[in-house]
């Protein structure tokens, strides 16, 4: 039986015994990775996944089950178990969504060229890229270089007539080069992910090589407060604090800084960010969320004001609101509020020109310890694993043994210097370069 058949069959089994309805999300994926290690081709791997996620509502309570045994036999049992565990499940106040009126748009999320990429082509591409790196920087090693391509398909169906098929592709490339001595571990890691086949590999490698040249000289840095530039790669962590604070679940729980602050001017008016689930080729684009609710664009911070919170069905019901189409579930997990493509509005001026205008600043490319801080308070304390000192737009050298700390919410209120015009995709985040003043910098 195929995925569609299994999804429908499981839904039918569940609807027969769960009095309040049910929904099922069936998904399968297959992927391939070509992996180079220490300058050499090391492994080629093929992965496969499949899972059926079921939710039932019975006597006002939610029950869930998941299985990756993709066989017709046993599905009735899975449905029975979901109803069984619902005895202990949470009492819910929401209804499953009805089929949306009108026709839903179709987004571009599937690139056949990605699905068709061959291992032999990636092998020769990888060899060529490694050859170029070693020719230019013979003292460095290519620790890792790899390609991952995958395609996935999912079916969602619920007991109130919603049914939807989605297809997607993912294409990623990563490279890590290093030079290691007793006194110095110099490591540069870069990666790029896209829905489409058109990753500019050459550009990623050029960027790594440029950083290798900049890093040959180590620059001294004094501890104190100074201007710090976050590249799109590291800006993602900072913007994540805002996205997380607007999560309806954290707002409901009262731990978000934004609780009770809707509509208030909390930040610099130049800060605007939001979510757009419906862009073609966005890595998290979708028309319905994982609970069958239509997605829609929304702002989170608008000109420094807290503009919107986002909810799944459950958290929306708790807050006395409607789902905003932000119910997402990882396989084997319950739905939770989540976001799709996060877009930060760019500034007026290009990065190079802005950097020229700075007397002295620290440009942070990679950090250590992200995700370890207390996100609710907005505090961050990070080791700078790759950063450069810049003076009037010129890179002076690489910094070592430097940490940075601050409070994201305070810095974006009082100390935002500029946001660059150009932006880059970091996974599902579209981010500019961001310069913050008075960041605490410790050099040991």
């Amino acid at each position: 039986m195929n995925l569609l058949g299994l999804t429908e069959k499981l839904l039918n089994e569940a609807v027969r015994i769960a009095e309040g309805g049910a929904d099922v999300r069936g998904s399968t994926g297959r992927g391939m990775e070509v992996i180079f290690e220490q300058n050499k081709l090391k492994a080629i791997t093929a992965s496969q996944s499949s899972v059926l996620d079921l939710r039932v509502i019975n006597r006002g309570r939610l029950g869930a089950m998941a299985t990756n045994k993709m066989e017709e036999v046993g599905l009735a049992d899975v449905a029975k178990e979901a109803v069984d565990v619902s005895r202990f499940g949470q009492r819910i106040k929401f209804n499953l969504p009805r089929r949306p009126a009108g026709t839903l748009p179709t987004l571009k999320t599937y690139d056949a060229k990605v699905a068709k990429m061959s291992e032999t082509k990636l092998v020769s591409l990888g060899k060529r890229l490694i050859g170029e790196i070693l020719e230019r920087e013979p003292a460095m090693m290519v620790n890792y270089l790899g390609f991952a391509v995958s395609e996935g398909e999912s079916f969602f169906a619920n007991s109130r007539g919603v049914a939807r098929r989605e297809r997607g592709t993912s294409n990623s490339f990563w490279v890590e080069i290093s030079k290691i001595t007793e006194e110095d571990f110099f490591q540069i890691g870069l990666d790029k992910t896209s829905v489409e086949a058109n990753i500019n590999y050459k550009e990623v490698v050029e960027k790594a090589l440029e950083m290798a040249v900049w890093g040959k000289h180590v620059a001294k840095l004094r501890s104190g407060r100074m201007r710090v530039v976050f590249t799109p790669e590291t800006a993602r962590g900072l913007i994540g604090y805002f996205v997380s604070a607007a999560n309806g679940k954290l707002v409901n729980e009262g731990v978000s800084r934004f609780t009770g602050k809707l509509g208030q001017q909390m930040f610099d008016p130049r800060l605007t960010l939001g979510e757009d689930p419906r862009i073609d080729w966005g890595s998290s684009s979708c028309v319905l969320d994982d609970e069958g609710v239509p997605t829609r664009p929304k702002s989170i911070i608008e000109c420094g004001k807290v503009a919107n919170f986002y909810y799944d069905l459950n958290q929306a019901a708790k807050a006395g609101r409607e789902s905003t189409g932000n119910g997402f579930r990882e396989p084997y997990f319950q739905a939770d509020p989540g976001v799709t493509n996060v877009i930060v509005t760019g500034g007026e001026e290009v990065f190079q020109k802005l950097l020229k205008g700075e007397n002295e600043c620290l440009v942070v490319h990679q950090v250590l310890g992200a995700g370890q801080s207390n996100p609710y308070n907005g505090d961050f304390q990070l080791g700078v694993s790759l950063g450069y000192l810049a003076r009037n737009g010129e890179i002076v050298g690489r910094v070592k043994d430097v940490s940075i700390a601050g409070n994201v919410f305070d810095l974006f209120r009082d100390s935002l210097v500029w946001i660059s015009k150009e932006r880059e995709w970091e996974g599902a985040y579209y981010l500019p370069y961001i310069c913050l003043d008075k960041v605490s910098v410790t050099s040991s």
């Binding site: 080629i44 899975v78 729980e253 700390a405």
Partner: protein, 459 residues
């Protein structure tokens, strides 16, 4: 559960059929059943009993690895062909695997480990609710209590072209209680493990639950730590994370075996740390989260001393890394599930206890920090950062008030040399370690340790 013997026969059959066209091949397959419960805000947010099945094939030909995973048994022949084809595509050097004995064994989970099997879902829910309720009682500052629970029983099969056939069962229970408190905009969080061994360990945890909740409340009033260098005492939980992050990852041979630059830094016999410091990894002691009898290459797990009185003495190996470095294999190739590639990992990483009492450690510290419990840790092999649950100030040998947001960082080579005292009694703690996207259960065990200088990043 499915017919295990039937599955085993089908896998063994693959090796009988057809000519051997690669140097080495192994097939892993397994299934699992688990229970997950999540309580938040006094309500059950999630309760589920997921099931999983799958497997993978790994083939080695002239130094090239091919790998293919599958989720249905009928996809096995296709996966075998794919893995072989991939390995032949890479082939270019020589296949080198350390010699290991052929093993035929069946390892079952002990009754004490799988004691959750005869507990009803209602019983599990009630115990968690009991602790949840208790944590709310400490004060109005508590805004959330999250109790999560997971148990699982998995069965996995390993069959190799060398003739090994190993079945292993593993039972695990893990439960975490996290309290969030909030006062005047400051959020304090603190967590403890309710159990990381078996179900029985969930009993009699009232004192710890209340203490954890009180700490979360106190943290809302605690000042943030001031940045700077400190003399510190790490409690056993944090010292264990220190051993894992600051030294364990660097001792995983896959970083070293084909990287001459790093191999030069990590040469055996080199002084690396204080003479007081001995660190070893031994997954073979059973009944812990990170224990196993055979790794995912069918190699018996064994004790490996990584750092012997401060001198580099060994490293953790997979068969290939051991073979290429001409060192002894020690069974440290682990995969996060049967559909993932085995890579070199830790199992149970320990700091050997020393001679100092906690009082002796405190004495003589003029201005320092006693860092307690951990939140998370990372390393890039040169530097480490890890976050303590909280810290207490030490002034002239006396413990003082608590401070929050304590993140320790430093150059790990320098810091290992600064371990100035090692405590007497160790505590074993369970955790989960991520590497290359694979998350696996592990343990670390350590006594209190004192470090003469560590950087603390505050605000």
């Amino acid at each position: 559960m499915t017919d295990r013997d039937g599955l085993k026969d089908r896998v063994i059959e693959v090796f009988k059929n057809g000519k051997r066209s690669v140097d080495y091949m192994d097939i892993r397959m397994g299934e699992g059943e688990s229970t997950a419960i999540d309580i938040r805000k006094k309500r059950i947010e999630d309760v589920t009993r997921p099931r999983s099945f799958g497997g993978s094939v790994r083939a080695l030909y002239k130094g090239g690895w091919g790998f293919a995973a599958f989720t249905r048994i009928d996809q096995l022949p296709e996966a075998v062909e794919k893995a072989k084809r991939f390995s032949r595509l890479i082939a270019g050097s020589k296949s080198i695997l350390a010699e290991v004995p052929v093993v035929r064994d069946v390892v079952l989970a002990g009754d004490g480990e799988k004691d959750f099997l005869n507990k009803s879902l209602g019983h599990k829910v009630n115990i968690l609710k009991y602790y949840d309720k208790m944590a709310w009682t400490v004060g109005p500052e508590v805004v959330n209590v999250n109790v999560s629970y997971g148990d699982s029983l998995t069965w996995k099969l390993f069959v190799s072209s060398e003739g090994s056939v190993i079945e292993q069962e593993k039972a695990m229970v893990y439960s975490l209680l996290q309290v969030t408190a909030r006062k005047s905009g400051v959020v304090g969080r603190y967590h403890i493990h309710l159990t990381d061994t078996n179900f029985a360990a969930l009993g009699n945890r009232e004192e710890e639950v209340l203490t954890a909740a009180r700490v979360a409340v106190k943290l809302t009033r605690a000042p943030q730590v001031t940045s700077g260098s400190y003399e510190v005492i790490l409690d056993p939980l944090l010292a264990g994370v220190f051993a894992h992050e600051a030294f364990g990852h660097l001792s995983e041979a896959d970083n070293v075996y084909e990287n001459p630059q790093l191999a030069k830094v990590m040469r055996m016999g080199k002084r690396f740390g204080s003479p007081l410091l001995t660190i070893y990894d031994d997954p073979s002691e059973l009944n812990f989260r990170g224990s196993y009898k055979y790794d995912d290459e069918g190699v018996a797990a064994s004790r490996v001393v990584l750092l012997d009185k401060g001198v580099l003495a060994g490293r953790m190996h997979a068969r290939e890394t051991a073979g290429k470095m001409s060192e002894k294999p020690n069974g440290h190739a682990r995969a996060a599930g049967v559909r993932a590639v085995p890579i070199v990992r830790m199992g149970i990483t320990r700091i050997l206890p020393g001679k100092s009492s906690f009082e002796e450690m405190l004495a003589g510290i003029k201005k320092g920090l006693y860092c307690i419990n951990w939140q998370a840790g990372n390393t890039d092999h040169e530097r480490f950062t890890f976050t303590a649950g909280y810290a207490r100030e030490i002034n002239n040998g006396k413990l003082g008030g608590i401070v929050r947001d304590v993140k320790l960082t430093g150059n790990l080579f320098e810091t290992l040399k600064k371990v100035s005292m090692v405590g007497r009694e160790e505590i074993v703690a369970g955790g989960t370690c991520g590497k290359m996207g694979q998350y696996i259960p592990e343990n670390s065990a350590a006594p209190h340790i004192k470090i003469s200088r560590v950087e603390v990043i505050g605000v």
